[in-house]
């Protein structure tokens, strides 16, 4: 673990250690709550972050304990943006088979990215595919 700074904006280097991941999740969730992000939005953001971090450790860093992963975030009252960058060689997210097809339902993996794409307002993998940028934008008030 390296640095943390500020509340609404920050960056942290993580190794695969559940307490550190939990701590950063709580820290970010506190900022989202303070800025009145809805409970359902916070649920989706937490899930998406968890999925992005786990993908980074497993598929990016290939579970190499010497490799770390960086999480950066900027949360404004309207938009919460996150970057998760691993030290792997990257991958093509479009090459993952659709996990919702009947023939793939019993495959235990491959659902993280579709959950991110569902819960976040936008998610992009930057080349070579070891850096995901995702954001959640609050819906306009009715």
């Amino acid at each position: 673990m390296a640095t943390t700074q500020g509340d609404r904006e920050g960056s942290i280097d993580l190794v695969e250690e559940s307490r550190a991941i939990e701590a950063i999740q709580r820290r970010i969730d506190a900022v989202l709550a303070e800025l009145n992000y809805a409970e359902q939005a916070r649920f989706g953001i937490r899930l998406s972050l968890e999925e992005a971090i786990m993908n980074g450790f497993h598929h990016g860093n290939q579970k190499d304990p010497r490799k770390s992963l960086t999480v950066r975030w900027v949360v404004t009252p309207e938009v919460a943006t996150f970057h998760v960058t691993d030290q792997g060689e990257g991958f093509d997210p479009d090459a993952i088979p659709d996990p919702t097809l009947d023939e793939n339902l019993e495959i235990p993996s491959g659902r993280g990215i579709m959950l991110i794409r569902t819960y976040m307002s936008g998610a992009t993998y930057h080349a070579p595919g070891n850096h995901i940028e995702m954001h959640y934008r609050k819906p306009p008030r009715s």
Partner: protein, 121 residues
């Protein structure tokens, strides 16, 4: 050497193994791995395994946890048993719907409803 505390509670109710989680969040790989091995050990001791997993109190669940449920479901089916789920919060049930895993698992509002007719089809 210390042993990690159990992450599930297992109670036998009339031949049905009722499983509950001790954690609110089933997210990180370490706890999911532990849950998986505890579940598999419990299932392997039952013939045939009739398993009810009750999600009472669970607030968050990751795709890795879904993966464990899929693996456990396959193992139960292979051993001639049956898996049912209950007490899933609406926000978590939505994850099942998004991934279409609601088609794979039988889920019930309450553990009592899930227990009705369990093992008879």
């Amino acid at each position: 050497m210390t042993t990690a505390p159990s992450r599930i509670r297992v109670v036998d109710i009339n031949g049905v193994m009722r499983v509950e989680f001790t954690d609110r969040d089933i997210l990180d790989e370490g706890s999911i791995r532990q849950i998986s091995s505890e579940l598999i050990r419990a299932i392997e001791s039952a013939k045939p395994p009739l398993v009810l997993i009750c999600f009472e109190g669970v607030e968050h669940l990751s795709s890795a946890a879904l993966g464990t449920l899929i693996t456990v479901n396959s193992l139960i089916k292979k051993r001639g048993g049956q898996l049912r789920l209950s007490n899933i919060k609406p926000s978590i049930y939505e994850v099942f719907v998004i991934t279409k895993l609601n088609k794979l698992f039988q889920s019930f509002d309450t553990a009592e409803k899930a227990m009705q007719g369990f093992g008879r089809g």
